[in-house]
């Protein structure tokens, strides 16, 4: 009998693989996602019906939990604004890790209660799942709070934070080891709490433009916790599903690091974030004056241009300016002006963030230029509009070895004839680094909310016909 259920798991696992393969190509992505979801549905049904000799039922609990979780998941995904997608993805991710943590927590308690716990690979697996799940849980919650603006980097970053993290990591491993060799509910609780603190502290110094890296890394960590939980239940689809997620998260993490030309260790140490401010500040002086401009002047410039590239960043997401960007695109295209978008791989707060925002307002993705395409197009571009991007257009990355972003490939927007930077004020960007772009001769600053500025340009453009 059980062989049928094993086969169902196999079908589910194959659907996961087909699903992920589909998700890596735009033409098949939607079907891929649905296939993976179907695989999940099969795995759930198989687990509910799987013949278990000592099954206790408990189906009221199970059905209630499935319904509550399903409804919360459904409504939160249906309601969310596309601009808060990074927050939602991290919170979902944290819940997966938290689930693995809770599960290993009660498994340990029950083994301990029945006195059958001992120093063996089962207890190691349980405690490893607990550790990894807890890190994913508290780390993702902090990532969520940071992305949502509820917590600022400087509020959670302590002096010598990396040193503290190393101590915490050692403490985490020590308490988990203690819980393995001296099983008791107290040592379990201590190990859980310390792991949670470590997860929190591990994400604390990472911020700003490094968020895409940390989000995909946490994603990978959750996958690993699901896979090790799979060993606990000797369940192959859990192992396979978890490892697939672990692998895909790792690949994205590596891609993001490569886009910034930095190593993962460097990102984790937090060279780009709150701790990087002091280093960056030194090179940010004596830049000369900026040249402010007005919506009307920008509108006139745009009216007589032939090729325009818009470079979006996190600020566009905050200002929700993608709708105005689309409108501007339509007006300019009608006038026969070419409009493109320069997308830096780490623009925004999660991998592919800008693509999601631009897709939301239905901007064709053949207008989106990646880093290399954009840079080779900039030479004959009349105007670059930098909307809410900062660090990804910073020339210091190329010519200032003292800058903390030195070596990161950037969009070389200053090679265009004219650069208009949309910015609220002269405050440095999220990474706290001064940007010499603002002081270049061919750069003009358009101060104010990006959405409002675009709106002003739009109304000026309409009067120009």
């Amino acid at each position: 009998m059980t062989v049928f259920f094993q086969l169902a798991y196999l079908v589910g696992a194959v659907l996961f693989i087909l699903g992920l393969r589909g998700l890596s190509d735009p033409k098949t992505a939607r079907g891929g996602n649905l296939r993976a979801a179907l695989g999940m549905g099969i795995a759930i049904v198989a687990s509910l019906l799987y013949p278990l000799e000592s099954s206790q039922g408990n189906f009221i609990w199970i059905i209630a939990a499935l319904l509550i979780g399903g409804l919360i998941g459904w409504f939160s995904s249906a309601k969310v604004q596309m601009t808060s997608m990074p927050q939602l993805v991290s919170i979902f991710n944290g819940l997966g890790g938290g689930s693995a943590m809770l599960l290993s927590f009660v498994e340990y308690l029950n083994l301990n209660k029945s006195g059958s716990i001992s120093v063996n690979l089962t207890s190691l697996t349980i405690l490893f799942t607990l550790l990894v799940g807890a890190i994913s849980f508290s780390g993702s919650i902090l990532a969520y709070l940071k992305l949502d603006g509820k917590v600022k980097d400087k509020h959670v970053t302590l002096p010598k934070h990396q040193f503290i993290n190393i101590i915490l990591l050692i403490a985490t491993i020590a308490t988990v080891g203690f819980a393995m060799f001296n099983p008791s509910s107290t040592s379990l609780i201590i190990a859980t709490v310390v792991s949670l603190i470590y997860g929190f502290s591990f994400v604390a110094p990472i911020g700003g433009a490094d968020m895409p890296v940390v989000i995909s890394l946490l994603n990978s960590v959750t996958g690993i916790s699901a896979a090790t939980a799979g060993f606990l239940y000797n369940n192959q689809i859990m192992i396979l599903g978890g490892i697939l997620v672990g692998a895909s998260g790792t690949i994205l993490t590596v891609l993001m690091c490569r886009a910034m030309n930095r190593s993962l260790v460097n990102v984790l140490i937090g060279g780009f974030s709150a701790t990087g401010i002091a280093v960056a500040g030194a090179s940010g002086q004596d830049q000369g004056n900026v040249q402010p401009t007005q919506a009307m002047d920008v509108a006139i410039l745009l009216n007589y241009s032939e090729k325009v590239i818009l470079v979006p960043g996190y600020g566009m997401a905050v200002a929700q300016a993608q709708k105005q960007a689309k409108e501007l695109d339509e007006i300019l295209s009608k006038k026969g002006i070419e409009v493109y978008y320069g997308i830096h791989p780490v623009a925004g707060r999660m991998p592919g963030h800008m693509n999601v925002l631009l897709a939301e307002v239905d901007i064709s993705y053949d207008k989106l230029l990646d880093l290399d395409d954009c840079n080779s197009n900039l030479g004959d571009t009349d105007i670059v509009l930098v909307v809410g991007a900062n660090d990804v257009v910073n020339p210091s990355a190329l010519d200032d070895p003292s800058s903390s972003i030195y070596g990161m490939p950037v969009l070389e927007v200053w090679r265009a004839k004219k650069v208009i930077v949309f910015k609220r004020s002269m405050k440095p960007g999220y990474a706290g680094i001064q940007n010499p772009l603002f002081f270049k001769e061919n750069t003009n600053m358009l101060f104010g909310d990006a959405g409002a500025s675009l709106k002003n340009i739009l109304s000026e453009l309409k009067t120009l016909d």
């Binding site: 998941g73 939160s76 993805v89 599960l103 978890g242 697939l244 991998p351």
Partner: protein, 104 residues
């Protein structure tokens, strides 16, 4: 030492699965265009909710008089279920936007 060899003995196939899946995962996703980074991440994220299967087995085997196990197990289940349903639904919503192909 003995327990390690025993474990390896009993789980050899699972270990094969683990190693092969790592390679498979890297192969599957090594060339993803940046337009799909977010959907891929959130779709994969939903798959990590597979830990739900573990919580189903846990609850089915839990002693009905052990309230703590029932509550913590259900909580684990709710969390995994949010991850799954929310993850797949939001990925689908995102991909629906990508689908609208532009006409020139």
């Amino acid at each position: 030492m003995n327990s390690i060899t025993q474990f390896l003995d009993g789980n050899m196939l699972s270990i094969y699965l683990l190693i092969f899946t790592i390679f498979l995962g890297f192969e599957l996703i090594s060339k993803v265009p940046s337009v799909l980074h977010t959907p891929l991440m959130s779709g994969a994220n939903a798959i990590s909710g597979i830990v739900l299967v573990g919580s189903i087995f846990f609850l089915r085997l839990a002693d009905p008089s052990d309230t703590l196990s029932l509550i913590v197990g259900s909580l684990a289940m709710i969390m995994a279920m949010i991850n799954i349903v929310g993850g797949f639904a939001v990925t689908n919503r995102m991909l629906a936007m990508f689908k609208k192909k532009p006409k020139q």
